[in-house]
Subunit: 354 residues, 4 copies
């Protein structure tokens, strides 16, 4: 079939993926309320287009943490991409480089971070979860530094696994040959202590705290980015702790179901940080107009998650390149129709709340 | 199939139950508007999770009427459980004890209250409807005292049967061998008086009034709990009448259809009693996040009704234990993600009204 | 099947009626937006039940225009009832009498008004449309007086036929043997004048004005009731013109589609007339709780339209009696659960707007 | 089937058209959110009908740019009508003349503008897009002047093609024999410049600016109308630039998806121009009541787009005449029921926001 939008790829992916892969890549936590609401939040805003405006010399350029980017569409960290397609993370990285999209590699990637960095020069940020020991965390950071990554994205919204019923129903487990290769050799989580509560005293005992972020800040010269910030107080504290940027995210609705949609929370976070650091966001982005709305509410740039692996599953690296092309074109067209020849011209006055 | 949530059990129960049992156990009054809205009320609130918080030593513990409970999930009184599964109320009680859940036994139980009390040590509260005569009421209370129950839950929201169209359509009646055994031997309701109106002068003439509650309060040293309070004025009066706790409930939408959803009314009741007694609530709880929302709006603990008999019908006592396990896990995970290491940390600032 | 609610009858009627009859009896104007919204308006209000209230001596009694009624459920004028069932209007009248329901006979009845009056002693009001000539109108009124009707209900919301697409699609026309027998012999509408506009100069030229109402008021000692009032200014003017009662109605959504739902407009009309005359209402009533809500917003009584002919089509007069029984029971039960032992106790404080 | 409303024609058109034609004529941009919301906007307003009002001498007449019109229903410019039916634009023009509807001919018509002008005397306005060169634009305007058109409608909301996924999915292209004949011989757009951005530096470089409008204003004595205005600031500027009328439009949701619905934006535009010029609107009109609502919110007249080609595809010119007849009848009936004997009596007090 002719695939003309990210939605078309999502529909095709439902066919292309095994049920188990679809449950993992496309599902969310619980009743998938947040998954749906993340997406629906964009439709609560309409755009008021402008007419007869000049556009020559326009572009989608921005600068982010010292880099000039061609456009504000980043690839979110998504684990185990070889389960979607043999091209895996390297394929995604190739596509990202071709479309000049900054890519964030997951620490749960199914390929070594060094290989992916080589495959695509725009794969510049490495995402980690704080490891059970600081040594283990540092091992990952040092490897990322050596491989040329420029930022460490610490994902803080998933200290414990969400309740992923869709995965449970299909008995999801990693297929043979797919593994978090970058984590191999690191120490396993400590055993369950006697008598304690599994959630509070075991899983969460390994969860990081602000002190760990501050410690990490001191260990590396790379940019430090916190991913999964939703509360304005946490945003403020992240800035104090030395974060160079924040990502407003609820992990695509994969951790806490009925979590507040990211677009809803974005303005409060933007307001809290007062411009001290760039605020990025992800969750439900599938259209160029979504990006305009996120920008209008204060986001510097956006990330896409599921669309990557959906496209990958349907057409490999070529699919990823295609959806990036589609999204870039949609963004440029929407900007032109809204009378904005640069991202900085996109403001809240474009929005009409429905 | 793999059953990973209370919703999965509900779906399976639709298969496991006979149509007649399903109409009784899963249906509601009228057009089932309240049944649906009880549930939908939770989704009108989103949660704002917190990050990087410490959790060690956390728990879901609370104390309620002098007892320390491991968690705030109670089993609501649900009649005729042997119609759902041969394990019946004893099975439920066993499961409740295993998962440390306080159970409320219905006076319309299909097994003798003494047997159920023995089967599960956490079956501590006995629910009654005020009987046509005070003597009959007292007979039930004395038996409950003797059997070791610690509280009498007086259900006040069903002085007359609701209009249960789903049951009528399938010609619902109690199957052979299932009976309200604890009520046997008590006097039947008086005959319809000459010339009066059936509803007002007959059924409702047997309905209890505040004086009956005050009388009952004087008869027993057990805790007295009113179940089915929705109006703040009634809540205040219940406290004056000597109630030790209230349960905000509309009987799971089984009595008055289009009755206000319980979560909607909860804050007004909490506000009215001003902390004088604990306020519990039930109606539509199927997720750990629902419990957080109820707590955030002032509930001390919650009860589940239909999930018990749905689980019972699918897997007997084991099913009931399983849903309690699921719900406890979901609650703990949600608390951890919201940065709450104790129930007391759950407040309204966690909620975002959608 | 077991029919346990008005909704059950509606479902059964869809089977029992011919497609043509169903289009006429169950359809509405245009896209049937008002038809749906009339009904949906009730669900926008929830009820807050009360507990432990006394009910002895309670009743649904009211007095209306000098008559004591057992309950506030009236039968709206519905044309051509013999098309629904051979029992026709006489059957409905018999059922109405048995259930003590005041019935309004349509001037487009398929049976002579004298026969229907004899068939059921509670068929007391006669509905007319103002006729092309005052003489013709007077002829109808005199016949009604002679037949013992106590009120003339002038329907003012349909001076021109609505756009009834559902009927057009099935090519609706009156079947052989069904006719507006009470109108036979009256002069036909005048022919289309040369050159004028069909709607404005022809159909509407025959439409009544306030002067006609004032004229009619002077012609008869019967109660005069205006049916189809929605605007508060019209309500005030109706009172000045001598109306003894008003019926807030949009003709069941059969005339102007997207007309405001009656329950929405009721409070403004009640407020406008300041208690000078009773305000009745119809549109979408199918549950006892709907009646409570209408009463809480100021209606003295309510009328049902489609439910009559739906029941008639399924079970003849017995069906009509049954739905009246169901509705009366539902109303009494709902009143009891709301702590109201009389209609006068039903007030706005029972409602919670959702 | 019996076709009794514009909606009936739309349903029939889905059968009558080829999939490719249906995608072009009935689709919208992106996810068709705006297409749906344009329509849904009308249902957010209910009408409050009036009773017992005089209507003699009433009409739907209005005057617009010096012409007396029988009614306020205009035919919007819709391209390539021969693809819908061999009758093409001439057929539409014949129907428009018969029903006294002012027609706007698209510059992308599939028939020569002179032929269409001859076929229907009410085809009085010619729509253009600003051409790549001013000479080309002038060529079109001069031909329109010569052919007797009285106004130039400049469509300004589509400087670049929208993202029309529905068309892409079916591989839409113009069938053999259908072409924009009025544009033949005009210079093609200039080639893509080296190194520039396709959207901003190529397509949009050809897009008109306010200076072009001001230039055009000086070139012709015809009325100048801007189509596609949504922002109040743009409306004000259009008036300053010499526009004689504005059309509030989002191109039927075919250009920027999630654009604000036209009815939502209408009041702000009306308010901005302060009566300086007439404000027309289009988007989603399918009912007489929609026209009343647009009028009540300040529109002088309305245009219909898709309904034309849907009717054309089903029954050729006769279909177009029929839907115009239906819409005129619906409008007159709705006015009569709202107590408005002229368009000027239609005001915001008729509306109730739902
Ligand atoms: C299949 C899948 C795997 C993911 N893996 C990671 C991960 O390893 N690390 C991480 O920080 N986020 C991960 N995420 C979250 C994404 O980075 C991102 O926050 C989310 O997908 C954005 O929402 P969207 O999918 O609606 O675009 C994952 C998301 C998906 C769908
Ligand atoms: C099948 C069934 C039987 C019930 N029986 C009783 C009962 O005997 N006594 C009582 O007080 N409540 C009874 N209830 C109401 C429950 O205690 C509880 O209030 C309600 O089920 C809570 O709503 P939920 O089912 O949505 O969790 C019953 C509920 C159900 C579904
Ligand atoms: C089939 C049908 C015929 C009707 N005929 C009349 C009539 O002859 N005169 C009249 O005043 N109202 C007539 N009505 C309107 C009803 O009196 C009443 O206003 C409406 O049905 C109330 O709404 P409901 O059907 O939702 O209860 C008719 C309604 C229906 C459904
Ligand atoms: C198939 C199609 C072709 C159109 N072509 C043109 C056009 O050539 N020029 C133009 O200004 N508008 C064009 N429009 C937009 C219409 O003029 C009008 O703004 C829109 O259709 C109104 O919305 P409606 O279709 O919901 O009535 C077109 C619309 C459709 C549906």
């Amino acid at each position: 079939p002719i695939l003309s939008s990210l939605g078309d790829y999502a529909a095709a992916a439902r066919q292309a993926m095994t049920p188990v892969a679809a449950a993992y890549f496309m599902g969310g936590a619980g009743d998938e309320v947040t998954l749906a609401q993340n997406r629906a939040a964009y439709d609560r805003y309409a755009l008021v287009p402008r007419i007869l405006t000049g556009m020559t010399g326009g572009s989608t350029r921005l600068s982010l943490l010292g880099r000039e980017l061609t456009h504000p569409i980043l690839l979110a960290p998504v684990a185990y991409q070889r389960m979607a397609h043999p091209h895996g993370e390297s394929g995604t990285a190739t596509a990202a480089a071709a479309l000049e999209a900054l890519m964030v590699l997951s620490c749960q990637a199914s390929e070594p971070m060094e290989d992916v960095a080589r495959a695509g020069t725009t794969c510049r940020w490495f995402q980690i979860y704080m490891q059970p020991t600081r040594d283990a965390t540092l091992t990952l950071v040092r490897r990322a530094e050596a491989a040329g990554y420029e930022a460490i994205v610490v994902t803080v919204d998933a200290p414990i696994s969400g309740v992923r019923n869709r995965e449970m129903r299909v008995g999801y487990e990693l297929p043979d040959g797919i593994a978090p290769v970058n984590l191999q050799g690191l120490p396993p989580p400590p055993p369950l202590p006697e008598g304690g509560n599994a959630v509070f005293d075991h899983f969460m005992a390994n969860a990081p705290g602000w002190a760990d972020i501050e410690w990490l800040r001191r260990q590396t010269g790379l940019h430090l980015i916190l991913k999964g910030v939703l509360h304005p107080d946490d945003a403020r504290r992240a800035v104090s702790a030395g974060a160079d940027a924040l990502i407003v995210s609820n992990h695509g609705g994969r951790v806490l179901d009925t979590s507040v949609p990211t677009l809803v929370q974005l303005p409060a976070v933007v307001d809290a940080v007062q411009g001290a650091v760039p605020v990025l966001m992800d969750g439900g982005i599938t259209r160029g107009t979504d990006i305009i709305k996120a920008r209008a509410l204060g986001a510097t740039a956006v990330l896409i998650g599921r669309p990557i692996v959906e496209a990958l599953s349907v057409r490999g690296a070529q699919g990823v390149a295609h959806i990036l092309r589609l999204l870039r074109d949609e963004l440029e067209i929407a900007m032109a129709l809204c009378g904005c020849s640069s991202l900085d011209m996109i403001g809240p006055e474009l929005l009409h709340e429905m």
